[in-house]
Amino acid sequence: MIIELSIADTAPDRDAVLASLGIPTDRPVPEHIQRLYATASARFKETATPVGIVSEISSEDFAAVYEGEGYNEPDSVVGDVFPRTPHLALFAATLGADTSRAIAAGFESHDFALASMLDAVASDSADRAADVLERRYESALRQDGRLTEDGAALRYSPGYCGWHTSGQKRLFGYLEPETIGITLTESCLMQPLKSVSGVILAGPREIHRFSPNYSFCRHCETHECRERLRALFGRSHGDPHGEPS
């Protein structure tokens, strides 16, 4: 199902954008940086055409998608969680090509500060587009009575947490994100760049718990998964990722 998204749906979070550029937001943000953010946001609104696609998939079919080209880590989060997941959906979302072109043009014309701010705005927005798809799938499951109030959905993408990027080939074969303008390169990378794809896993909250002892976790400094799990379980449940709560 193709899902039209509005700019408002995918509006970036200013503090998250600034934080991604190393700018602290617990103190007044310098005026020239505020202006830069405002200009980048305006450019984003002019260029972004967010759209998404979601398709439910059975656990058996997803097993084949996930297997991909056989390059996944032997043990991985998705590989452990999806077999116990009752509801799965493949998804893809994109901001369209114009925003990526605007970022590239900014760098080419040496407008580095604006281009990097626009890149950060677009990255946050692409994640928010994926968040919207995740929430809408979760909401649809609740409306159908297939997900209890305590249930939850979390998404995972090829390229992260042990799911190899080559998994995109089968994901694209099943989902056909080309219908919303996303294509794959030979190296299994999405064009436009500001696109997100993956699987949404939904079911009882407990299915999402996992141990942090995967081999790739030891060398990964990206802590987004920890934040997502903390948001799901809260600190009172202890930290499922093994950090002190």
Binding site: L21, G22, I23, A120, H219
Partner: protein, 212 residues
């Protein structure tokens, strides 16, 4: 020389129009191009780099300063080339095969250029063969590799191993960086160094190039 100090200040202020004007002005005064580069543009970027390092300013400020430096370099570069004046060093950079995320790599490239390096930017989705070949062709003693996806990090090891197999590890050093990377990962794959952010990468590349 006062005008060179003004040029450095224009870079520090991120005033690209002023930096361009002042560069033209000092060129017209027959100041040697290498002096303009070292005492004007790079001097300004060095101040910016130091202020960024101590968190006095932020990344956008560095990038505004870089734009100002580029505005000066537009006028200066032809003279440097004509006089055969080399930049302070050469670096090959790229985002590794299977990875299209190039913002971090671009920022490192901008800051390396700002520090006076010649940067051979291979773009993204770059194979180990291309990385090593480019370093050999350009005589670059450093290869900088970037990755954002955890599943593309192992490609960095392929570059390190290729250099070792070709007996080039002594002549060509490697620095790795990217959001999911750690010093431990760099050590594990045998990379020469790890850069935790763009400013640190410049320091490390200087060290690997024997400049500090």
């Amino acid at each position: 020389m006062k005008v060179l100090a003004e040029l450095a200040q224009a870079v520090i202020d991120g005033n690209h129009a002023r930096a361009g004007e002042l560069t033209q002005q000092v060129i017209a005064q027959d100041v040697p191009p290498k002096t303009i580069l070292d005492d004007g543009l790079i001097a300004g970027m060095n101040v910016v780099g130091e202020r960024f390092r101590v968190h006095d300013i932020f990344l956008p400020d560095v990038l505004l300063a870089a734009k100002a430096m580029y505005a000066g370099m537009n006028h200066l570069q032809p003279l440097l080339i004509a006089e055969g004046i080399p930049l302070i060093g050469k670096v090959v950079i790229g985002t590794v095969r299977g990875d299209l995320h190039d913002i971090g790599k671009n920022l490192v490239g901008i800051m390396l250029r700002g520090a006076g390096f010649e940067v051979i930017d291979l773009g993204n989705d770059v194979s180990p063969e291309e990385m090593v070949q480019a370093a050999k062709e350009h005589g670059a003693p450093v290869i900088g590799m970037s990755a954002l996806l955890t599943t593309t990090m192992p490609v960095m090891r392929e570059v390190v191993e290729r250099l070792r197999d070709d007996k080039l590890s002594t002549d060509i050093k490697t620095i790795v960086g990217g959001a999911p990377l750690t010093q431990a990962f760099a050590d594990k794959i045998g990379a020469t160094a790890y850069g935790f952010d763009a400013a640190n990468a410049v320091d490390v590349v200087k060290r690997l190039s024997g400049l500090s």
